[in-house]
Symmetry: D2
């Protein structure tokens, strides 16, 4: 039987003290399994690991059949944003702290990877967002996001006023600290702190969550994933704003700028060991008591 | 050109003082348009209207091309639960108070109906729920709901403990006043009071909303509309519960009883005049300020 | 030096399987300390403990210098409602599960009691509520509550409409599942599930918390503890209601009935070992992560 | 009878287009009443009004018996922060939009002022906050606030981690967008958007409200107004913060800095016309439906 995964990429969370050991173990495991391994160049240069052949992150996308991401959900977010367009599947191994995306613990990593290599896995597709900002009808910035695109106020002390449109229909004018547009993946991240609902990963939905809205009757709205969202800094407002993608600053926002948010044509392919249970992770992460 | 709508049913909110006049006007309009009209038998007997041919509600479903519902959202809910299986489209005319479903105001009713008769309308399909209760593996009750199925506590002063499963996967054990399973239609009704998100009508989703949950980290969860939900009164609990469909008592619940909730195979077909704008209704109903 | 506490009452949670052993140990400890002990008559008859002199609960209030309550917060609530008028201090020992009121664990009970007997304790006063219901200006029911007085709907599926007044000033008309009036003690109980704030026990405040309010902009209101609250079932509503005190049914409510709620003239005196830390209990009970 | 109010200060919202006319009318009214009037110097220089004697704002505090503030709640906040130490009473006249503090509408201003001058008024005292920041045990900044003192994150995309202490007792470690400490006055401002309760103005309480807390079980806590609050940027965090007083930037915050917040020794004295009704303003501002 021809093996499905022959060339493996490894991306690690460079700043974690345990990352060198963790990558070493996964690499050793891959060697034993006779797999070709490429280490992400950035990870290599920031960890000092020199005994694994390296490749630029985009090249991992082009050349690998599978990319193993070792770190936390942040490492997964970063890998997903870059690699989604290559449609290479990712598997996430955490460094001891359970993640929503990095859901395999180090102690079980080899067993789970062995199963995955044998074809015993489940594929889950996750929606990503594309955001672009237009000023005077010209695009001035663009980014991908796996969790969320957030239109924020610029200074902490000044609310912004935004107009939101879905597929061209006006939804509301908001005075708030900002507006989160979140994927199902992001619904357990910042959107949850902002009072948003949990969105099951397989649901083709986005959720728009106001941050500290001035109008008390505002509520999160879940909409179809194929919606085209437009958020503008209202002309009546006095203040600047800014846009972040997965918590990283994309660009500042002036009055009249338009932020366009829609689903990316590519999806993140996440591999999970058989029997993966989203609700179990949810219970563990949110400290929900299970049935005694 | 053959007309699309020839036989029209009328259902009215019997207990409203203005209903006789409102039905009379719609009937007169239909006569002028040379349409065959049947008045819902129950509406007839409770309003004393005798000059319109009557039909039993199920027969309206079988014989009519269109049913005009005059009243509030409650009248629409009731009509929808009965008529959904006949797939006859409904149009909702309110009695002066804008509804999410009964969204045509009396003053514009004739103009809007004339447009609809000419084929100038939009069809919107709404998901309904089917709920059944099993005791010792035998079904003891069953109902449809357009808004929500709620598992409630029995007495106000005693929380219930419930276990929730989605497609067989355990989700959580809850101590709460109850659990709402809501359609997008119901997301602006009781589920919203309970802290749930607004779900865009076209989104193929249900939302599970705990009522006053004892565990503070519990949050509403939006899931795929084709999910099979099971909620059981936990064996560790001491208390009885009850189930309502669209706010109507279905059956009491004993420890060990299982409530099964899933999407109905039939959808409600709602007709709207062209240019129908869900967000406008949302803004009006929730008192959201529009752009000045 | 004259001892402060010579006559000790014991009240236990009768239905707990470990209660006989727990009471036996406390009784033995008291004997060694040469204290006179009376066991609550109800506790005696429901546990079968016969080797301790018994007294009716009111007599515990009259004759004892200190009442030791063994059980959970529910046992404390019940003891407090009856004993508050005698101003006898209570100390709460739990049966293994930390309570907000029953905050001494069984393993440390003897050490803590020894300290208290030596005068090493802190006294905390807790506000109680008095509620009365008037129909046609005649009182038809009255009760005390340490946690909360709740005006509930009667049937789960029908909201009630209530008018709330504070010191005669109209506050709001509410459509909701009910309205909680809570003490600081009750602010970590049902009021918290309903979305209310935590009120520090020493703060002379009550909090009014709507349950699933129909008006989305309604919010909990904290008011002065010496306020006179009146809640009436609105004349425009169609439905009955009911009133509970600490989760126990007081009386049903008809349209026009008036519920009067105010602070009881007596306070509960709670004794805590020195170094008692409310916030530590809060962190433990609400699963707040402490500083690593 | 000796008049109580002889020397009147006027402070206006300089940037409002209607302010010159509004000040002119109030000045004319005062002239007719034979009162000595001083216009706030800053208001004078920013409006171009030259026909009223001016005084520096502090001198208004020293010389006036009453200060009339014309503008919105922001104008009142600013006046209160400066004038509170002089204990001169303020009365607030709005420019057409009802405020919580500027609660007299322009059309009724003369009638209400005439009543107040006759001694027909109610005095309300409002708590203010004092905040100071210490770095290496040295104070580096200090301010007053009538609404709130907020410890914010520095950059929108990075949560901060804070430790909160009340009277030296550790309360919690928080990961959030920030922490609001609000007076009753501020409870209807930013704290309300953040999910805090409404605090009745006369209640001697502060409320601590987390902004988008990472821990879902965190809740607002209402505490005694005489509490000493300390909030520190946690040593385990990586990020800077900042502190605002009534929405105005006070100082940036580094890891280890300590923010001390307590009630100011001075109170704001607000004069209201007889029959002032806080709950009426609440209903109007929050769009609560009144009894039909």
């Amino acid at each position: 039987m021809k093996k499905q995964f022959n060339t493996i990429g490894i991306i690690g969370k460079s700043q974690d003290p345990g990352i060198v050991k963790a990558i070493g173990e996964i690499n050793l495991f891959c060697q034993k399994e006779n797999l070709i391994v490429f280490l992400d160049e950035y990870t290599s240069s920031h960890t000092g690991i020199t005994d694994i052949k390296t490749a630029h992150r985009e090249d991992l996308g082009k050349q690998c059949d599978l990319v193993i991401v070792i770190g936390g959900d942040g490492t997964m977010l970063s890998a997903a944003r870059t690699l989604c367009e290559y449609e290479v599947p990712l598997v996430g191994i955490n460094l001891g702290r359970l993640g929503f995306l990095a859901d395999i613990s180090p102690s079980e990593a080899e067993d789970r990877l062995r199963e995955i290599l044998k074809g015993e896995y489940e594929v889950e597709e996750r929606v990503l967002l594309s955001a672009s900002i237009e000023r005077n009808n010209k695009e001035i910035a663009r980014c991908n996001a796996l969790n969320d695109v957030v239109v924020h106020k610029w200074e902490v002390a000044h609310m912004i006023e935004t107009d939101t449109y879905i597929n061209g229909d006006f939804v509301h004018t908001h005075r708030s600290d900002g507006i989160i547009t979140s994927t199902p993946t992001g619904s357990t991240a910042y959107a949850l702190s902002g009072g948003g609902p949990i969105i099951q990963p397989g649901l083709e939905a986005l959720v728009i969550v106001p941050i500290c809205p001035h109008t008390l009757s505002n509520r999160p709205i879940a909409i179809k994933a194929d919606s085209k969202i437009k958020i503008t800094l209202s002309n009546t407002g006095r203040h600047k704003g800014q846009v972040t993608c997965d918590g990283r600053m994309l660009h500042e926002l002036e009055i009249g700028d338009e932020v366009f948010i829609e689903t990316n044509e590519h999806r993140l392919k996440l591999l999970h060991p058989k029997g993966h249970d989203y609700f179990q992770i949810l219970r563990a992460k949110l400290h929900w008591a299970e049935h005694p």
